[in-house]
Symmetry: C2
Subunit: 189 residues, 2 copies
DNA sequence: TTGATTATACCGAACGTTCGGTATATACTA
DNA sequence: TAGTATATACCGAACGTTCGGTATAATCAA
């Protein structure tokens, strides 16, 4: 079989970017074509299920990316706080220092497809579980660990929104810095 | 002059709802027509500037609503904490117990109009200022007060996003409950 | 050739927008 | 007071454009 003109990796990466900037409704085939270098019909060859399959695919792609590139340090060995710092560093890269939006946020706008919403919920659940896991490992009770994981998620999402609106990534940077303590210290807050 | 079939109040309220659920790109004229009871052409009679003017108008409308209905208690008299609780209660209503999105969030998605973005920034700035003001009044230093106001905003926006995705409004409710302490206590966090 | 991959051309539907025309309520005139 | 003119409010239909989606043809490695 001939090589793809555009690699799956590049394709998914570019589509991810379009979806996370414009959301599902705003992500037009023209934008995706422009971003990937593939004509609309070629996009339909790669994704016979159309726009919905594209969204589902990039969500899956983002999940794998997230698990392997961002959440991976959490399952390593060593000091939990250090591992969280490592995750924070990778989060900073992934969200372009706070200048990028979260796919789960933008993709969940509007009357989003029920099936897609389920996938989004699963993704955010997995993320929460991962953070709750290391909080638990750091000595917090399981209920407390889960609560702190949810708080972390709230602050990450919120700081991304505020950073996007104001154009100032500082809130996001600050949130990342506070993550290790938030997920491990028994008595803060 | 003939009476309006649909009052300005109802018109703006419904449009606000459409924009805050679907964002700018997702808010179609058909959706707006359906929501307001006015045909598309009639919407153009009320807003000659088209969709952009609609967005600008509802942003202005939301500002006034926010100032008079949500932020008002902050400028009343009495215990700052009680006033913040009052604001939290109204926020809860405005955001439908955490089931509704924030207009400033959804409207700022995509390549949003520069002029519109400026308005969004002004709105969020005013909100932040109001919260920083009462934090200052409660005895915090001006830098600390501002920081706490920003933190509050981050947690409100973040919990709305998380609540929208998961379908569980609990994070938002929890955030509101924590607001009085967050905006007044000198040593928490 | 064959079979997979990309490009061209096109479709119906919906997009934001405009326009001609019709109500309806006010203002003016007689 | 009655009749006419005016201004406002709304709607149906259509504008050109773009939407998501689908055939069909060209391309190209094996």
């Amino acid at each position: 079989m001939p090589l793809n003109k555009v690699s799956d990796q590049h394709l998914l990466d570019q589509l991810l970017e379009v979806f996370r900037v414009h959301g599902y409704e705003g992500a037009s085939l023209s934008l995706m074509s422009e971003a990937t270098g593939l004509k609309r019909a070629s996009l339909y060859h790669r994704f016979p299920g159309g726009k919905e399959e594209m969204a589902r695919s990039i969500l899956e792609h983002a999940d794998e990316l997230f698990a392997s590139e961002i959440l991976a340090p959490l399952n390593a060995s060593g000091d939990p706080k250090a591992r969280i710092r490592s995750m924070a560093k990778r989060l900073d890269e992934f969200y372009q220092g706070g200048r990028g939006s979260c796919l789960l946020d933008t993709l969940s706008l509007g009357d989003s497809n029920p099936g897609l919403l389920t996938g989004i919920q699963a993704s955010i659940e997995a993320w929460t579980d991962a953070m709750a896991g290391i909080a638990r490992e750091a000595g917090l009770s399981s209920t407390k660990a889960r609560r702190r994981a949810e708080d972390s998620l709230v602050q990450i999402q919120g700081s991304l929104v505020v950073a996007r609106i104001t154009g100032d990534p500082a809130p996001f940077t600050r949130t990342l810095k506070a993550l290790p303590a938030l997920l491990t210290d028994p008595n803060s807050h």
